[in-house]
Symmetry: C2
Subunit: 341 residues, 2 copies
């Protein structure tokens, strides 16, 4: 089982300019610590105009991190394609991949926050179409060795060749979020990695991982659970008095995710706030022993790659996780070649 | 007199993927060497689709350099605004400024290469209008502490606030290229720095610097020649046998600049190829003594800031320049407070 960190979230507000700077430095140090402690990857989010300082120019921060680290994989989770010029994006991606020595993991997505689409003055109803168009042109831009022209609904380019070429040929590994069987099977069939959300229960995750592995095999790829990134919230409790506060925080997170993801036309935000947190096993909340138990269930189900989003996001948490929790988990041999079913 | 380096030019072709990587590493080392040797700044170009590997994602490379350096100022010369989404650009600029500890110098321009506009499918005739619109929104995005909406011909945003805030408030120093008296006076009146080209003779440069300083004063700013960046080609000759080759190279450069800058409708490229290179004093081509003499003329005329574009772009050249050439130049006191006229 391997672990990554997932985040780049709230990093200071605009009110205090030094606040932003300190928060960035803290996050940079967190990624350096993660590399030092043997984490496999750091995946960064992208959000805009939140007013709470969420990371906007994720590729910029990843490029800075490329210079400050040497081994850890650097990923996006995800670049929201409908907001970007696919060719300028390809240039930034290729430059990051090159400067990091081929360590970039290219997570892409369609976006879901209505507020962000409204701010970009792009209808959320165009998201899927723009996503598909941008993705195709991004991949072509990264991989074409020859000049080409492109004319589609939203983008037009004539006689272009994207420089530099990425180090990872023909392009960095692609990751896409998926939840439904059809979605997971599609991602697997394309040879892309899949990102699973932090809300699904252990049973759901295990089911999805196996759908993915089966679909990989069916499409002629080797079964490889390292291509299933399972995001989990991490909150290690030092004592019982911290438990209720941690549950409260989890409820808030779920509420926010629900509110931000609400669909246009729905007047009441979807909410996960009524989830029974104590019996919800999705998050890695608990004592080291409790967390190890949940990881064991994931490992037993075939999960090999867990991306942690931590409320504290500091070295102490990562150390406890790596030194006190991970050793308690009995790992299976790497991805079995036969379907578990 | 202070010195910067100017470049990021041809850094490998797409044919050899490792070529790009090595070339980037060479350029990164060159900037680190420049910092080490006391250079004030590194200004990077932006070009697209050249097929010869010119730097495309300049802000990405600058962000990487921010992590590898600690003192040198990191500049764009220039970001070609008509090709960029001004708000996404502001996010990248602010992130770079923050991560570099406030070392970013924001050179912006309208663009001039017809081939690039054709490839972006943006008419060169729209360049000026797009440039103005993008610049205004870029500045507003960087400096606004409040949410705002923006609706103009090319860009629409609703209820946005750009995060993070840049470290340099309200925004990083702006630089614009200018050549005509009207252009120079406008740039000075706005409080922006000016970038002068590598083709103008010493007499022309001296005239322009003084137009700028006078206009600064007239607009209520302190006279400050550090806000006039004078680009000069550098080619140090170790012996006479290298001279003809250096001249030939200079002719080629001028020919290329002329061809790339040609205006639509002109069938024959403008060309500088008939310039009498031996008597043209624009470039710093020659023995250390000859180069020192040209720098002396610039210094005597009020130039305080020279940006070097070097054919060799290596540490040895920078060392020779700093250790053998600069000490020969008798520097004036910093910018005189009275007009030279």
């Amino acid at each position: 089982m391997k672990f990554g960190i997932f985040g780049g979230g709230k990093i200071g507000g605009k009110a205090n300019p030094l606040g932003d700077s300190y928060a960035y430095q803290d996050f940079i140090q967190y990624v350096i610590d993660a590399e030092d402690l043997g984490f496999q990857s750091a995946f960064l989010v992208e959000h805009h105009f939140t007013g709470v300082g969420q990371l906007s120019a994720s590729l910029s921060l990843l490029t800075f991190l490329a210079a400050r680290t040497s081994r850890i994989r650097l990923g996006s989770a995800v670049i929201v394609l409908p907001w970007h010029n696919p060719v300028l994006l390809a240039e930034q991606v290729a430059t990051l991949d090159l400067l990091s020595g081929g360590r970039y993991e290219m997570g892409v997505g369609r976006g879901y926050r209505k507020e962000e689409f409204d701010s970009f003055c792009i209808p959320l109803s165009e998201a899927q179409e723009r996503y598909v168009e941008c993705f195709e042109l991004l991949i072509k831009s990264l991989s074409s060795k020859e000049r080409f022209s492109h004319h589609s609904k939203y983008w037009n380019f004539e006689n272009i060749i994207v420089e530099p070429a990425p180090m990872q040929q023909p392009h960095p590994p692609v990751w896409m979020a998926a939840g439904t069987p059809q979605g997971i099977e599609y991602v697997a069939s394309q040879g892309h990695g899949v990102l699973f959300d932090q809300i699904a229960s252990i049973a759901e995750i295990v089911e999805r991982v196996n759908i993915y592995l089966d679909a990989q095999e069916k499409s002629g790829y080797a079964r490889d659970a390292m291509r299933c990134g399972v995001t989990r919230a991490l909150h290690i409790l030092n004592n019982e008095s911290e438990r209720e506060k941690a549950y409260e925080r989890r409820r808030e997170t779920l509420k926010k995710i629900g509110a931000l993801a609400r669909r246009p036309g729905a007047n009441t935000p979807a909410t996960f706030a009524d989830v029974d947190i104590a019996n919800d096993d999705a998050a890695l909340i608990g004592t080291p022993e409790e967390i190890a138990e949940r990881l064991q269930k994931l490992a037993d189900g075939g999960v090999e790659y867990v991306l942690l989003t931590s409320a504290t996001a500091n070295r102490a948490t990562l150390e406890t996780f790596m030194n006190k929790i991970v050793p308690q988990v009995k790992l299976r041999a790497p991805t079995p070649r036969k379907a578990v079913a």
